[in-house]
């Protein structure tokens, strides 16, 4: 578990970013390069925050028997994306706060939510986690706590999981940075494209922009997130956002938009959430 050096500090750090291999191929598309640039900025701010742990929710790590938490001490290996395998190997090697993951799993169980810890050599770390970690933790010094996307969680359960994770960190005095790795609209272009011509469809784009404007304003009260998620075929029903909402609950937050653009037709944004009164 983290050392707890940040105990009692009220600042917080939360973010949102995509995690696809395109982001490591910035030379192929200006849009991908821009998004990657936004992720670098998010990574710089995260480093400045000096967290004990990076709690990362990945929409690409799917779990069925409840929420899973990675507790292997140091996952290391090579992952090849199942779709974009021609773009080389994604090497990974990062520390995990295993003890914290176990606490998270217990906290969920106590509250009636199924959970599991995962500690297996050769466990397939997902593309989202690896790509996000490259930008957020390029030196590999910050321990991660990776949270799966439980396929049977609805918005409410996802929020509850986010809330429980944040409460557990607060209780233990862990200075955590919370980041959700997910797309917004997830209508991929189902064929080969010229990366330079990558774009989000007009209707998805309009919805995404509305959603981002709302997040920027900090007032979600008049925005129907469920309707948006359905309209744009949101990545895992936008559960990553609901999880993040649970993390951020009771805080006045506004999103700072570092980047927005297409990744193979899907909509991707890089966001940073700041609390009222918390300076940059």
């Amino acid at each position: 578990m983290g050392s707890g050096k940040g105990a009692g500090v009220s600042e917080f750090f939360a973010g949102w970013l995509p995690g696809l291999p395109q982001l490591l191929q910035g030379d192929k598309s200006e849009a991908w390069k821009r998004i990657a640039g936004g992720m670098e900025t998010l990574g710089t701010h995260l480093k400045e925050f000096r967290p004990d742990v990076l709690v990362l929710y990945s929409s690409q790590w799917l779990s069925v028997l409840g929420t899973s938490f990675q507790v292997q001490q140091r996952p290391k290996g090579v992952h090849v994306d199942e779709n974009w395998h021609e773009w080389g190997d994604l090497e990974f090697d990062f520390p995990v706060d295993a003890e914290l993951g176990k606490f998270f799993a217990s906290a969920l169980k106590v509250n009636g939510l199924p959970s599991k810890t995962v500690d297996f050599e050769g466990f397939p770390i997902d593309t989202g986690t690896i790509v996000a970690n490259r930008f957020l933790n390029p030196e590999g010094k910050i321990p991660l706590s990776i949270v799966s996307s439980w396929v049977y969680a609805d918005a409410e359960k996802s929020r509850q999981i986010g809330r429980l994770v944040r409460e557990e960190c607060s209780r233990r005095g862990v200075r955590a940075a919370y980041v959700a790795c997910s797309l917004l609209s997830a209508h991929y272009t189902p064929k080969e494209i010229k990366p330079a011509e990558d774009c989000v469809s007009a209707s998805d784009d309009e919805w995404n922009q509305k959603f981002l404007n709302t997040l920027e304003s900090g007032d979600l009260s008049s925005f129907n997130v469920g309707e948006y998620a359905k309209a744009v075929g949101a990545d895992m029903q936008l559960n990553a956002f609901h999880w993040l909402s649970g993390v951020l609950e009771e805080r006045e937050t506004r999103a700072q938009i570092h980047a927005y653009g297409p990744i193979w037709g899907a909509g991707a944004a890089v966001l940073e959430f700041r609390g009222e009164g918390v300076g940059c």
């Binding site: 974009w84 395998h85 021609e86 049977y152 189902p190 064929k191």
Partner: protein, 314 residues
Amino acid sequence: MPYREQFYLHLTEQGRIMQSGKIVGAFIAPHPPHLVYGENPPQNRVRSQGGWETLRWAYERARATIKRLKPDVILVHSPHWMTIVGHHFTCVPRLAGRSVDPIFPHLFQYDFDMQVDTKLAELCVEEAQREGLTAKRMTNPKFRVDYGTIVSLHLLNPDWDIPVLPVSANNSPYAFADSIGQGEMLKLGAATRRAIERRGVRAVLAASNTLSHLHFSVEPDPPEDMSQEHIQSDAQYKWDMRIIKMLQEADWEALQEVLPRYMEETFAEVKSGGLMWMLSAMGFPKVRGEVHGYGTVIGTGNVVMEWDLERGQA
């Protein structure tokens, strides 16, 4: 073209005279990792006290058929290699490594080592593109083969002495309407058949699919406690029996009619396209499907079923 018309077109078009290669048999080969876990083969690092014997006995009969058919290659279409951009064919001569199931990692940590018929993969890509599909070769030697592919292949041929060809499941059945998604699989099947003919090999096809897919979310301790194993619901069981009867009787029209509702009501994994791919590749033959066995795994319905095309018409 509407789904129904595409379906009938494929029924008639595929009665053509074969060239040198042919499909000699086909299987519905479900892939719950529990079946490998229950068997305790040396490749799996996890040990069990057995379990799911009825399905494993069913696979023993399928294995005997494979030995008798002596195919040159086994092709497998797995929903756990899901691709977004087109249909992918494994095109690396040898793939080896460890595959840990992301869902049931405590049951399946399997050291795989497979020889791939890369020439057939090339031909499949070519023929799929001729059908107007997006198709790609997977040429990365570090690729981690998914557990669906490995489980089905292990259960059909634990000796791994026959070359294989893993085929991805394009996500079109989930991203678009049934007519588009399953329509793509019909074309993929036609392309696969032509590729096999051109390659001149005796091929076996495996649709790596569970039938009804609603399941329990709590696992017993130990997972192989068979006193806890039963179908998730009676409605799901009845659906499975109805579908199996159509498959046995080669009643393809009836199957096509009910498939969308079956997939919706039971979450059937056949939605991922393997079954349509396989039936289309075989040309929807009027051959009786032989049931080797049916069983449940954490509540899902699984059938091991065979079409022996060498034995001829039913």
